[in-house]
């Protein structure tokens, strides 16, 4: 995972220009010069794949961070106040019942494709899951004696929330964060593939696959290179999540 991020950040140093077109070298097979061959406009697939990693990771991690933050706020509020809980959780149930991709599509259709709205759309569709998890943790913790003791001891509610309740949500939040990141990266690719994600001039794994799909029989690398990168990235993030879970919950590991 770390390796992936470094590769993506250092992209301009070693990979060629992803936008450079060469009409005489279209759909070339992999060679020493162009490791993954070239696509239908003669662009270097290797360079585009590496630059695609930047977009995928940026969008994936940003939207996961937004979703985690929003979910945390909503979850803690809902877990603490009965009256807000009813309304907010109904809204979350409603959002959850809309398939992620359709929800994101509906949001994006408001403004048209763009990276900003993409992050917002993915974050909105991932928030309910986080909120629900945080709420359940808060509900469990708030009846604990130490929280009651803190309140009886005269600590004010915001301080109790911050000092005693928030820390208890961290392990669950981190595990969920990995899952959400993985699914955000996937959603970005899916939306770009469907043509509503990242604008086509910016290389992203999803729209690379979409623009190459007519050439599957001639130049399979144009689809497999970004596809495999995508799969490896998502797998890495998922395994990271499993690792974090084992770290915080050793009993889960023993059972496996």
């Amino acid at each position: 995972m770390g390796l992936l991020i470094i590769l993506a950040l250092a992209a301009p140093l070693y990979a060629g220009d992803p936008g450079n077109m060469d009409p005489f070298r279209r759909l070339q097979p992999p060679s020493a010069e162009m490791w993954f061959g070239s696509d239908n406009l003669g662009r270097d697939v290797f360079a585009r794949t590496i630059f695609g990693a930047r977009i995928s990771l940026l969008v994936g991690l940003m939207s996961a961070a937004c979703a985690a933050l929003a979910g945390l706020l909503i979850g803690v509020t809902a877990g603490y106040s009965r009256s807000i809980d009813k309304i907010v959780m109904r809204v979350m149930d409603g959002l959850m019942s809309i398939p992620t991709i359709l929800l994101a599509i509906a949001l994006i259709s408001l403004t048209g494709p763009g990276i900003g709205i993409l992050i917002v759309a993915i974050a909105v569709s991932e928030t309910p899951a986080v909120a629900r998890l945080v709420r359940s943790v808060v509900l469990g913790v708030r009846e604990r004696p130490y929280v009651e003791a803190a309140l009886c001891g005269g600590a004010r509610l915001p301080k109790v929330l911050w000092r005693h309740i928030l820390p208890s949500t961290v392990p669950a939040l981190m595990v969920q964060g990995a899952t959400v990141s993985a699914s955000a990266i996937l959603t970005e690719a899916v939306l770009s593939f469907l043509g509503v994600g990242v604008p086509p001039e910016i290389p992203s794994w999803g729209n690379m696959i979409a623009s190459s799909r007519l050439y599957l029989a001639i130049a399979p690398m144009t689809i497999f290179a970004p596809g495999i990168c995508l799969a490896v990235t998502v797998l890495a993030v998922n395994l990271l999540g499993d690792g974090v879970r084992d770290l915080f919950d050793p009993s889960a590991k023993r059972r496996r």
């Binding site: 809309i98 690719a189 797998l235």
Partner: protein, 313 residues
């Protein structure tokens, strides 16, 4: 029981109302005047004003919402801006391929996923279990369209065993229909098989460590009887729940699979609608799918009582 069903129905209606308000606001907030969109580029200001009046866009927002929701409840989902035909009619036309794909996928993933999960739990820690766990991590992570193109390349382009793309209606022959559905179904199923297998395994392992399982082994029950008679029944609830949750997931997968395999179903209808900015279609599909999702999960909650007689409402 009746009280519980009633309470669940009320909360279902609440959830659908939230979805409705959300979609309605989304459409009203969308930039671009719907009236101007319908009137076309060369419309005069008076024409647009006329259409606005006709559509009731000048009424206050709550009134507009009440009318809109009323239309929906009466089964009037509006007219497609692009095709100029009722949305419901367009959806009905595309129903067969999508339903075929979804049912085949559910069938394949539940049978294979549950068997893999049982197998892995039975042989926990052994090679089979490790292989299945690795497979499920992979199935989890590889996106549907990557699997799809990979399978097309392998089984259609390289070997010509199966057709590359397309859909053949059932009327045109069961064999053709089936052959064209093999690749899409497998593509879409891999993720679910992984998901269902994972949950089945965890849930089975939990049950297998219960005292009554040791009792069953001690009284000499065969491993077959233990797995299927004692364990699977008790592990059923999480498995059922997962099948319900994965329905929302399935819709997203259907959209992708239909795009990859060029199947003229509801997914393609949505993708085309996005490109044409055909809002009535997008909103109807969202409302219908989330309604279906809520109903399926309601049905599954009720099915718990069948799987586990201890559950009473």
């Amino acid at each position: 029981m009746a009280g519980y069903i009633l309470r669940r129905l009320v909360s279902t209606i609440a959830v659908m109302a939230v979805v409705g308000i959300f979609i309605f606001l989304l459409l009203r907030l969308a930039p671009g005047d719907p009236a101007a969109m319908i009137a076309g580029k060369e419309a005069t200001a008076e024409m647009i004003a006329g259409i606005r009046e006709q559509l009731g866009l000048n009424a206050p927002l709550p009134v507009q919402f009440a009318r809109w929701a009323g239309d929906m409840l009466r089964g009037d989902f509006g007219t497609s801006i692009f095709a100029g035909r009722p949305v419901l009619e367009l959806i009905a036309q595309r129903l067969e391929p999508t339903v075929s794909l979804a049912l085949m996928t559910m069938l394949l993933s539940v049978t294979v996923g549950v068997s893999f999960g049982i197998l892995a739990a039975w042989r926990a820690g052994r090679l089979v279990d490790r292989l299945l766990t690795a497979f499920s991590a992979l199935g989890y992570s590889v996106p549907v369209f990557v699997i799809g193109y990979f399978l097309i390349y392998l089984f259609a382009i390289k070997t010509h065993w199966l057709p590359v793309q397309g859909y053949v209606p059932i009327d045109a022959g069961l064999g053709h229909w089936f052959v064209h559905l093999i690749l899409p179904t497998v593509t879409l199923s891999l993720g679910y098989i992984a998901f269902i297998a994972r949950v089945t395994r965890t849930s089975m392992l939990e049950v297998l460590s219960e005292d009554y399982m040791r009792t069953a082994a001690a009284k000499g029950a065969s491993s077959y009887a233990m797995l299927f008679h004692h364990a699977l029944k008790n592990a059923g609830i999480p498995i059922l729940t997962v099948i319900g949750i994965s329905f929302a997931y399935l819709i997203g997968g259907v959209v992708l699979t239909e795009t990859v395999f060029n199947i003229p179903g509801i997914g393609r209808l949505v993708v085309d609608a996005i490109n044409n900015r055909d809002y009535p279609i997008i909103q109807s599909v969202i409302i219908l799918t989330s309604g279906l999702y809520v109903l399926i999960n309601l049905a599954i909650d009720l099915a718990y009582t069948l799987v586990d007689p201890r559950v009473r409402y």
